[in-house]
């Protein structure tokens, strides 16, 4: 898996013709997206170039500690981003931070311990980015659903609490549905992978000149790694976040007294 290709700047510049085409379609059809396309293009150049230099620096320094710092930063910003999707869940930042950290640490730790990847920046940075990114999406979806469902199921949850059930027992069906919705997207896309879309890693490896066998094998490893990380993050996020809807006396908090 040491395939490597060189891409010249003129090739990148030439691909901007397709951006111009997109802008022209928008202008012609009055979709009013020309400005957004310009912003998106400039941002993609700046952001990816900066990330490219950062990754180059990390590869050159070749320090596992620098990789861990980078992954910690990803977890932190991932939790901040996911929190916006979970606006109806009180104090969701803590559960999300713990969910992303645990999902990242346990899946990366496991693939390294099983000898699938070497613990070097070359593997940990890209795989860590995918693991944390997917964990973020899954936990955001799960908590978004949790917030909606806790609102809809208020009457049933309180009626169950009124029987002397614990908060965990009363919220269990709701938490289960939220967990499921966080996991199901990746499960479904794993089912159709290769049929309806080619996953990014495989495309990248084929373009870089790797053999199709290697490309498929690496893609499978990554898909299974992501399934693990998505499950852990959705489980931890929902398992911690539902508690914030209840007081210590197993009372359902009023919606107005839940801090955003």
């Amino acid at each position: 898996m040491s395939a490597s290709i060189h891409v010249d700047l003129w090739q990148v510049a030439a691909s901007l013709v397709l951006v111009a085409l997109a802008a022209a379609i928008s202008f012609w059809q009055r979709a009013d997206l020309e400005r957004d396309i310009l912003v998106a293009t400039v941002r993609s150049i700046v952001q990816l170039t900066l990330v490219g230099y950062a990754i180059k620096l990390i590869f050159d320094v070749d320090s596992i500690w620098l990789v861990l710092v980078l992954l910690a930063v990803m977890v932190f910003f991932g939790a901040i981003t996911a929190r916006h999707r979970a606006a109806k869940v009180p104090s969701s930042f803590g559960p999300l931070l713990i969910a992303l950290a645990l999902a990242g640490a346990s899946t990366l730790g496991l693939v390294v311990a099983l000898g699938i990847f070497e613990p070097t920046p070359r593997y940990l940075v890209p795989v860590g980015g995918m693991v944390i990114g997917n964990a973020m999406t899954a936990s955001a979806v799960a908590l978004n659903r949790l917030g909606d469902e806790m609102g809809e199921a208020r009457a049933r949850i309180e009626a169950t609490l009124a029987l002397g059930a614990t908060a965990r027992e009363a919220a269990a069906p709701t938490v289960r549905r939220a967990l499921r919705s966080g996991m199901i997207t990746l499960v479904d896309s794993t089912k159709t992978t290769g049929l309806i879309f080619f996953p990014g890693t495989m495309v990248g490896m084929l373009l870089a000149g790797a053999s199709p066998t290697d490309a498929v094998r690496l893609q499978l490893i990554l898909l299974y790694t992501l399934l693990g990380s998505v499950s852990i993050s959705a489980l931890v996020a929902t398992g911690l976040a539902y508690r914030n809807f209840f007081t210590s006396a197993a009372q359902l908090r009023e919606p107005e007294e839940t801090p955003a």
Binding site: R156, L163, P173
Partner: protein
């Protein structure tokens, strides 16, 4: 006394829903009456600690209510909410869930009968019951815990006359049996007359009357 309230107050959204409520609720059957928005349901929820007051004290059988562990309190002082909210499954699975929480053996047929339902309801899917039947299943579910006190929040407000009469008949039998105390919230003074011995009348979150039925609702 079953419950004693002293200077109980509770605010929601900057407004006092309950304001300096001091009242006694004896063993037996008590009706909490008053117009909608008077704080009746809120008061009922305080009695099994689904919420706690912001001010004042509540005593249950002479002990501060907050000295009871909330989960075991709720298994003794069982609340049936205004609208039925059963768990997915059959009537029997709901009854069993409640009985197991309370650590009580379940006699399904007998429990159904006390709520005015015949034994054929045990295996029925709760999603396919009418609202009136669901509300009786809610009553049966609470009774499956063998509570000492039954708190009922407008148990017939969503029902037609026939369904209301069935629930009232079941509650009348429970009241006469004397095996548990009942605290019933109702906006209907006639229902209070039919089911209560004692009345607590609320208006605008304050006590407008408290005492034997004949004195308060004369």
């Amino acid at each position: 006394m079953l419950f004693e309230l002293t200077d109980v107050g509770l605010d929601r959204g900057g407004r006092a829903v309950l304001d300096s409520v001091s009242a006694s609720i004896p063993e037996g059957s008590t009706a909490i009456v008053g117009p909608s928005g008077a704080g009746k349901s809120t008061l009922l929820r305080l009695l099994n600690r689904l919420a706690d007051p912001d001010r004042g004290h509540i005593y249950y059988r002479a002990r501060p209510l907050d000295s009871y562990e909330p989960l075991s309190l709720r298994r003794q002082v069982s609340l049936v909410p205004q609208l039925p909210a059963l768990l997915e499954g059959t009537v029997e699975s709901n009854l069993r869930y409640a009985a197991e929480l309370a650590g009580e053996p379940l006699d399904c047929d007998a429990t159904l009968a006390r709520a005015g339902l015949d034994p054929s309801f045990a295996g029925r899917d709760v999603a396919k019951l009418s609202v009136g039947e669901q509300q009786r299943a809610m009553l049966a579910r609470a009774l499956a815990q063998r509570p000492a006190v039954l708190l009922l929040d407008e148990p017939t407000s969503a029902l037609d006359h026939a369904a209301r009469d069935t629930i009232e008949a079941a509650l009348g039998d429970l009241r006469r049996s004397g095996e548990l105390s009942i605290v019933l919230v109702s906006h209907d003074p006639e229902q209070a007359r039919r089911l209560g011995d004692w009345v607590l009348q609320l208006e605008g979150g304050r006590v407008a009357g408290c005492g034997p039925l004949a004195e308060v609702l004369a």
